[in-house]
């Protein structure tokens, strides 16, 4: 668990709902505004097994405003893709008919953005907000150790350029009692903005930051932020057209209800009649989703391990880097797992490295079994190689995980598929230490010999990932296998 990106639709819904509700940090220059109307966010998900046409028809029923005569829309994929405008993944000022067609042409299709290829499944359709280029601004809030930086520039939009260099910055200290005054914010961030919108913008920035704090964002970028003056240029309305955000997943126990209510049918203005009879959520809306990065949608196995991970105090992580790779890792420990990946990459086998993953925090024998079984299944599904495959069952010196117990789970997994492992010419390298490692290593060695697996077993005398160069590069080692005299 960590800070993770959220869908644009979710970020906007949370902002829209909480802008007027988050506890104020500072005195506002404006009278308290009425609550925002429900945002018009048509979030469209195209699953593999449903015809895109069906999804669109359902959407038309759920979001009747899509069919309003003469309305114009923006359509874009909502999959954490950066610089969509530059990749031609942004349809602006379209009638619903055109937007619909635009989405239909792309839904479920693979697309390459810069170096990454992914399938488009999640789209966002919103009303188009007509505005002038000079009304586009850029705002960014991000967190650092010493506080949160708010960046602002009056030249937003697709070609915002190097914001680090040109944006005005202000540091908001962690202790909110030291929050800057409205004058200070205006003077620091808004020197290039017409004076009559200062009030509106300062109020907006204050509220935006209040939501950022209250809903525990760790990153928030709005570009463009559109500020449209009223006719007599005394005030202005603010629209956040494009948004990217990261939210701290670990704050779920504090903010889960806030994230949910903003995205519930009531807050989104969706007629629940159409959705009635669905499952009961723990909060007044669906739990916040943290989608995988673009081009890295969770495979079935990764989702399975993520679900397993969510149910336990132990940690179980799996990322498939290259499902056709021939080097697989089954490593215990958040730090050790990285050291293994480093060692494999350093040995020049980065492209053959199939997965990153780790199990730690004393998982049970059964959890370890399911984890090991999943990794080994993936190994057996990757194409057979002339040179065979390599499986590292590694780990550091555990502090409190019982090695014999977790290894029992690993051994059970090996037992179930030992003939296939032999068929795939899998070389297994084991290195582990910690509580009761003697028993664990003895057992896995015995099981390997019994199952006729090609297995080498080492204890703490061997460095944590020292087996990697030995296994991959044929480096020599003076360390003897565990149990050898």
């Amino acid at each position: 668990m960590s800070a993770k990106s959220v869908l644009e639709a979710d970020g906007k819904a949370i902002l829209n709902y909480h802008l007027t509700r988050a506890p104020a940090i500072t005195q506002s220059t404006l009278p308290p505004p009425p609550h925002n109307a429900p945002p018009k966010l048509a979030s469209l998900y195209f699953p593999e097994d449903v015809a895109p046409e069906t999804v669109l028809q359902t959407a038309e029923a759920t979001y009747p405003w899509l069919l309003a005569p003469g309305a114009k829309f923006v359509a874009k994929p909502d999959q954490l893709i950066k610089r969509r405008g530059k990749s031609g993944l942004l349809a602006l000022n379209k009638t619903w008919e055109d937007a619909r067609q635009w989405v239909l042409e792309r839904a479920g299709k693979p697309v390459k953005v810069e170096t990454v290829t992914g399938t488009l499944r999640q789209f966002l359709v919103e009303p188009f907000v007509p505005h002038k280029q000079e009304e586009e601004y850029y705002v960014n809030i991000h967190s650092l150790r010493e506080g949160d930086y708010i960046l602002f520039t009056h030249e937003g939009g697709v070609d915002v350029g190097d914001v680090d260099a040109k944006a005005k910055k202000i540091l908001i200290p962690v202790d909110l009692k030291e929050y800057p005054s409205n004058e200070e914010i205006a003077a620091t961030l808004l020197p290039d903005v017409p004076e009559f919108v200062h009030n509106v913008l300062v109020d907006f920035i204050n509220r935006l930051y209040a939501v950022y704090v209250d809903s525990q964002f760790t990153y928030l970028e709005i570009n463009p932020l559109v500020v449209i003056p009223n006719e007599d240029a005394t005030s202005a309305s603010v629209h956040f057209l494009d948004l990217a955000a990261k939210i701290d997943q670990t704050a779920e126990f504090e903010c889960g209800a806030k994230w949910a209510i903003a995205r519930g049918p009531a807050a989104l203005g969706i007629n629940t009649g159409a959705l009635g009879g669905g499952k009961v959520d723990i909060d007044a809306g669906p739990p916040l989703e943290f989608p995988a990065p673009f081009g890295r949608e969770l495979s079935k196995e990764e989702a399975y391990i993520a679900a397993l991970d969510a149910k336990t105090g132990a940690s179980l992580k799996l990322t498939v880097l290259n499902s056709n790779g021939r080097i697989w890792t089954l490593v215990a420990g958040g730090g050790a797992s990285v050291v293994y990946a480093d060692a494999i990459a350093a040995a020049g086998f980065g492209e053959d490295l199939a997965n990153y993953g780790e199990y730690s925090g004393a998982p049970t024998e059964t959890q370890t079994f399911h984890y090991a079984r999943t990794v080994i299944d993936l190994l057996l599904r990757s194409p057979m190689r002339e040179e065979g495959k390599v499986l590292f069952i590694g780990g550091g010196i555990a502090n409190f995980t019982n090695v014999a117990s977790t290894f029992k789970g690993v051994i059970r997994a090996l037992r179930e598929v030992s003939p296939q492992l032999i068929e795939h010419k899998t070389k297994i390298w084991v290195r582990r230490a910690g509580p009761n490692y003697q028993e664990g290593l003895k057992n896995i060695k015995a099981a390997g010999d019994e199952l006729k697996l090609d297995i080498k077993v080492y204890g703490p005398e061997m460095g944590v990932a020292e087996i990697v160069p030995v296994a991959l590069l044929g480096a020599t080692t003076k360390v003897k296998e565990y149990g050898e005299i």
Binding site: T319, G334, G335, V339, A346, G350, L353, Y356, I397
Partner: protein
Amino acid sequence: MPSVATLAPSSAANGSGKQLNVNDNIARFSAPSRPRSPPAEHTLFHPKTRAFVYGMQTKAVQGMLDFDYINNRTTPSVAAIIYPFGGQFVSKMYWGTSETLLPVYQSTEKAIAKHPEVDTVVNFASSRSVYSSTLELMEFPQIKCIAIIAEGVPERRAREILHIAKKKGVTIIGPATVGGIKPGCFKIGNTGGMMDNIVASKLYRKGSVGYVSKSGGMSNELNNIVSQTTNGVYEGVAIGGDRYPGTTFIDHMLRYQADPECKILLLLGEVGGVEEYRVIDAVNDGQITKPIVAWAIGTCADVFTTEVQFGHAGSLANSKMETAKAKNEAMKNAGFYVPETFEKLPEVLSELYQKLVADGTIVPEKEPAPPKIPMDYSWAQELGLIRKPAAFISTISDDRGQELLYAGMPISEVFAEDIGIGGVMSLLWFRRRLPAYASKFLEMVLMLTADHGPAVSGAMNTIITTRAGKDLISSLVAGLLTIGERFGGALDGAAVEFTNAVDKGLSPREFVDIMRKQNKLIPGIGHKVKSRNNPDQRVELVKEFVRRNFPSCKMLDYAIAVETVTTSKKDNLILNVDGCVAVCFVDLLRNCGAFSAEEAEDYLKMGVLNGLFVLGRSIGLIAHHLDQKRLRTGLYRHPWDDISYMGFGTDGVAPGGANRAMVDVKK
């Protein structure tokens, strides 16, 4: 507080070998007699460091005490446990082979007041509650260092903690860490693993290398590497894998720099964050002059085409500068000893150590004999080194595995095969699957005995108790306690008498005659209203079922023959439901093939029939309780006119009068 002077614990433990009392084996430690002079600013832990452990983490506390013991500390490093949910006042711990009692406090305030010498807290509170407990701890100025173990502390909360800590001058280690270790002084929680590893990594005596790592698991790896390549660890801290650790590399590096006993600095960084650069800055501006061996893990990230969140929450590069590769290069350029790969780190460390020994910077001390620590009973048991007879044995159910087992049958199978309550009873009562008809028969008995109206004595007692306002269990038990020889006991009695008669080879007529001669009623025979011509439907149901399904119903046939004899004397002396159920049950035990003859007898002797009645009738008694509650009936008082008051006259003679019932007491 125990006020006895500190004992040399080993004398208490091993002394004369004559132990009179459990108390003799408890080591007690008094509070220090005078406040200590404050340690140097760079010293976080010293041989007198005293700490609280927040949270009931007895295993970790024991590990800390064992560490203290093998480091020859005179007092345990843990002064007390703070546990807000506890009702416990002391926790028993081992001090070497003897025992000691650690106070357990529910409130931090009380713990602080009682232990003014404590300046360190190992906080095991969960990610949800660690924020509030840490803030509370920081309100007490005597607390100077808090280690936060929890993973998953929200980043904002972690930043707030570190912000306040900085203002107050408190050192925070963590969150998301195992802690840290200083040989000879102090071990935080589970750092260093089990005692065998502590001994293997020579963490029982100080060396010259001070390290800081992010990862707790890798810190143990460093302990191993350092012990194999140098004279050992001087101090090690794992700052935790989160984005915002309370203290970072630089905080501890500066302490090691200031500490003259620390000769080599070791830094294990990681992809993500910029904290390594602050160490580089400190080297560049001359704040740190001691040699630093350093490596940042996560160099593989450059090979991956997409961003990968590694195991640690903070290990994700947000810019080129945060990559491990950039950090390693920068550290190398600043003159750190940076190996080519992590695997080469021991080599580099060893070379540096040898150089420092050669130039006299480090003078290796004579190696003390490795200490011995008694092994924990539970651990020895897990390792299969010891055994002991169990105090309890259970053979019917097992809740230890993935699934609950009833006599070996997983609960999921119990439902998949739909064995019913009769099936469950056969598993738990008889430890075997009985044929389907037998399970069905057991269920039938429960259904038939479930209730017999409100007027029977058991139900009466339940009703009266309920009406006295008592709860369900009391009311149920009031009814159940009525069951015995006269009420509900007919089943057992009938089974015994009929079985005896059959086994002795008495003919039904002989049996009836003998019973009459002994002036005994035959249990299970006779009904208040039913007769041969007006049979009890319940009996007919049982008879029919048993005739149709049981392989043999010898006992039932015998009982019916007895009934023929008795009804010839009086029409209502029929085989009643108790008698019928009892004899059929004996038929079942003896003839279903699942029990040996001895087993069948044993079960009857154990009172299994009574068990059937108690179980069945509980249904009815609970029903009466619910019924009375539902009706909101009030307290029952029996009317005077329904009790015959004998020997008191009718006009109410004054107490003490002639009619007073007297009991003579002999003097």
